[in-house]
Amino acid sequence: MFASDERAPAGAPARRVERAERSSWRAVVAIPSGRIGIALTGLTLAIAVLAPLLAPADPFALGAVSLSPPSWANLMGTDAIGRDLLSGVLYGARTSLLMASAVTVVAFACGATVGMAAGYSGGAIDDLLMRMTELFQVLPRFFLVVVTIALFGPGADRVVLVLGLTSWPVIARVMRGEVLAMRELDFVIAARAIGAPGSRIVWRELLPNALPSAAVLLGLLFGQILLVEASLGFIGLGDPNALSWGLLAGQAQGFLRVAWWLSLFPGLAIAIAVLGVNLLADAWASVLGGRAVHATPAGGAKGWEGTM
């Protein structure tokens, strides 16, 4: 029965998840906080993409008036050497979002690989991988980035690498939990029965079905990385050649007494961007929580409670 149609057990769950995802998006929109999350995240993305069109000035161009408070000419004021802050904040969105995206990709790649390998293999490999996960979880990533930059010199690549390599444990835990819960479900047993190799089962069957719940964590992680990256920029450890929100906020620190606008706006931009993804992740989590049966193939809903 399986041999006659090899695609069926492999293809069906993926298609079902796709359909469930589409309806889950509608459910996110139905939640008020989900709508705000989508709006704020969309706004941040639009600003990052359209920064050159939106910015009234070159963010590095020196203006006539230094430390000008917000006015019609400079909606967010100017800094100590007359640069337009609004343009800086708009362009800063690019650096901050790019960095956070890159880190999230690295963290997901590591976390998914470790988590699924641990959950699918079980036994000694599982134990070893989870011990390793615990070690990476206690590494203080902020201080690790500081030391790395002090030893290796500044640069975006090493910041992404260190943040990515220290942020995957939460993802690994969730992926492991998902895989453990799915391991004995019908569609996985079916795939195993037709002789599908372990790698195929992991990547084609388990990964697509674990993605929805991993997405919640990826959203929250993205927000956290935005904050960590901003903190690094704030103490002057960001990419020295790129404007970022953290860098702007760090430069503002010396002008707290004389130019309130310099510290107000960059931080506000960060808060709005992070709030957006957090609201989105929260709404997505509550959608999954209430509709676990729809999102899990073969109707097996167990395992969702533990991971949320």
């Binding site: 070690l135 590494l139 500081v146 709030l275």
Partner: protein, 321 residues
């Protein structure tokens, strides 16, 4: 608490601590340039470097180097701060009281504010009160801590003028004893509150979901059936069990808390480890930076250990399971 549980948990510390040492050892050796610079600083002369090379075993094989390095660190030798002309460990230790005062105060404030707020929110989920409290928690969770600090300085210190802007004591003050304690307390309030805001965000959410969970359980229904008032049901029956996980979360967030403390110290000019981090960074004082990383990492391990043991002491399911 069973002795076996404590022993097992204590033994788990060893591989984690060894892993941290390995990470810092690898960093020193993968970094471009001579590894001795990472341990002895940037500005030494050849004779001094030769001595440090010998002391940390850098003239021997790599495994022997690792062993020497681990032994040195375990004995509290974190290298030498050439910038300050002192042992890196001494430089770091003298900053610890200020940092511990700040983080300890922030933790206490966070628990005192967050647990009642979370309980109020969880008592009637999705009501107006819950929506307000949850929105506040999510807002604090999303705001960068340096920005909360900057805004607090702008509003509370500069605009309202009710708190000092920066520092730990009044400039030039040589007060001692009680007047000095009051001076420090006055300077401590705002940065501690700002640092607490991050933990409040997390603890409110945690307490809220704990209370929501407990309110539907049998023992709470039994209490209600006995005719106990709603307030007593919350305070006596739901909340005590709902706040148990708070203990472990405090341990799990120790790393986050110390990074937040470093940033808050920089914003408020608080003379602790965070300020040391910034000045060492600017002076390229790598032994101190590496030492700070190690000290914070070990502090995180310790915090996790203490909170795990505390949790086991109050929740029998953990120590027996």
């Amino acid at each position: 608490m069973s002795r076996r549980f404590v022993l097992r948990r204590l033994l788990q510390v060893i591989p984690t601590a060894a892993g941290i040492l390995l990470v810092s050892f690898l960093l020193i050796h993968l970094a471009p340039g001579d590894p001795v610079v990472a341990l002895a600083g940037d500005h030494g002369d050849p004779a001094y470097y030769a001595e440090m090379r010998h002391r940390f075993g850098l003239d021997r094989s790599l495994p022997a180097q690792l062993a020497t390095y681990a032994l040195r660190v375990v004995q509290g030798d974190l290298g030498f701060s050439y910038v300050q002309g002192r042992r890196a460990a001494d430089v770091i230790i003298e900053r610890m009281p200020a940092t511990l005062l700040l983080t300890g105060t922030a933790l206490v404030i966070a628990v005192i504010i967050a647990v009642p707020l979370g309980a109020l929110a969880g008592q009637r989920p999705h009501g107006a009160r819950d929506t307000g409290i949850s929105a506040l928690a999510l807002g604090l969770y999303s705001a960068p801590v340096f920005w909360v600090g900057q805004v607090a300085i702008l509003v509370v210190a500069l605009w309202l003028g009710v708190a000092p802007v920066q520092g730990m004591t009044n400039a030039g003050s040589d007060a001692a004893g009680l007047p000095r304690a009051f001076d420090v307390l006055r300077h401590l309030a705002l940065p501690a509150l700002v640092l607490a805001s991050q933990e409040i965000a997390v603890l409110v959410r945690l307490t809220r979901s704990g209370v929501i969970d407990e309110m539907t359980r049998d023992h709470v229904r039994a209490a209600r059936a006995k005719g106990i008032g709603e307030r007593m049901v919350l305070l006596r029956h739901a909340l005590p069990r709902a706040v148990l996980p708070v203990v472990t979360v405090i341990g799990a967030r120790a790393g986050h808390l110390s990074a937040g403390a470093a940033i808050v110290e920089i914003v408020f000019g608080w003379p602790g480890a965070g300020r040391l981090l910034l000045s060492s960074l600017q002076a390229r004082d790598t032994p101190v930076l590496l030492g700070l990383f190690l000290v914070i990492a070990f502090a995180v391990i310790l915090a996790n250990l203490v909170t795990d043991l505390a949790y086991a002491a109050i929740d029998p399911r953990v120590r027996l399971g």
